[in-house]
């Protein structure tokens, strides 16, 4: 298994390059802590699928062999960027847009660069909401340590 490294473009799976050449994806962005850390715990990738190309993406990836490195891949549809003010990704809110914006473009282009910076108050409020999800499991974990 290849060593986990922040020099990700050296080990990026060929499938992403193929999808880009076939005009199915707009780009691949590395984001999160792996952009900053030399020895990251995991590697987050955002794969942006071109408008109307999701079915082609599925067709072209359904028989792909498991990747040698476990990437945490977020699949984003270009259509989702049409209403950027209300963008969310599961429990993640506006701060994720900033993470994508500051990400490293590995293939193609980063569509988040064209959007204006998200309002600081909105980022903080969305992080507050996200932290609720962080706090609850921690309480459960400590209960497990002390009471089992």
């Amino acid at each position: 298994m290849p060593k986990l490294t922040n020099k990700i473009n050296e080990v990026l799976p060929k499938i992403f390059f193929d999808l880009f050449k076939k005009d199915i994806i707009l780009g691949v962005i590395q984001f999160g802590s792996s952009v900053i850390k030399k020895n990251p715990n995991d590697i987050d990738l955002a794969v942006i699928v071109k408008k109307g190309k999701l079915h082609k993406f599925i067709e072209n990836t359904k028989n792909t062999k498991p990747l040698k490195i476990i990437y945490d891949i977020s699949l984003i549809l270009e259509e989702e960027l049409e209403d950027i003010d209300n963008f969310n990704f599961g429990v993640h809110g506006s701060y994720l847009i900033e993470s994508f914006r500051f990400g490293k473009t590995l293939i193609g282009k980063n569509p988040f660069l064209i959007f204006p910076k998200t309002d600081e108050k909105k980022i903080k409020n969305d992080i507050f909401e996200r932290m609720k999800e962080y706090i609850y499991p921690k309480k459960k974990l400590f209960e497990s340590i002390f009471f089992t």
């Binding site: 701060y95 900033e98 992080i127 499991p137 974990l141 340590i145």
Partner: protein
């Protein structure tokens, strides 16, 4: 308890401390804040007057209480 759960917990604890510092400080830069170390964030929180100790659970409880006061 599954021991393999602990590294994940440690990683999440570090991120929680960083985000807590981001929310409680005047820090404006996100996601740059994530590049600051957990220890550095704890030091800065102490400088801001938060009395932190070695128990991670207590730290989280304290910081979360303060965050809720500001954002709820």
């Amino acid at each position: 308890m599954n021991p393999s759960f602990l590294p994940k917990f440690e990683s999440r604890y570090a991120k929680t401390i960083k985000l807590a510092y981001f929310l409680l400080s005047k820090e404006k830069k996100f996601p740059d804040i994530l590049s600051i170390s957990e220890d550095n964030c704890l030091s800065k929180l102490k400088e801001m007057g938060y009395t932190l100790n070695i128990d991670k659970r207590l730290n989280i409880e304290l910081l979360w209480k303060k965050i809720k006061e500001q954002y709820s």
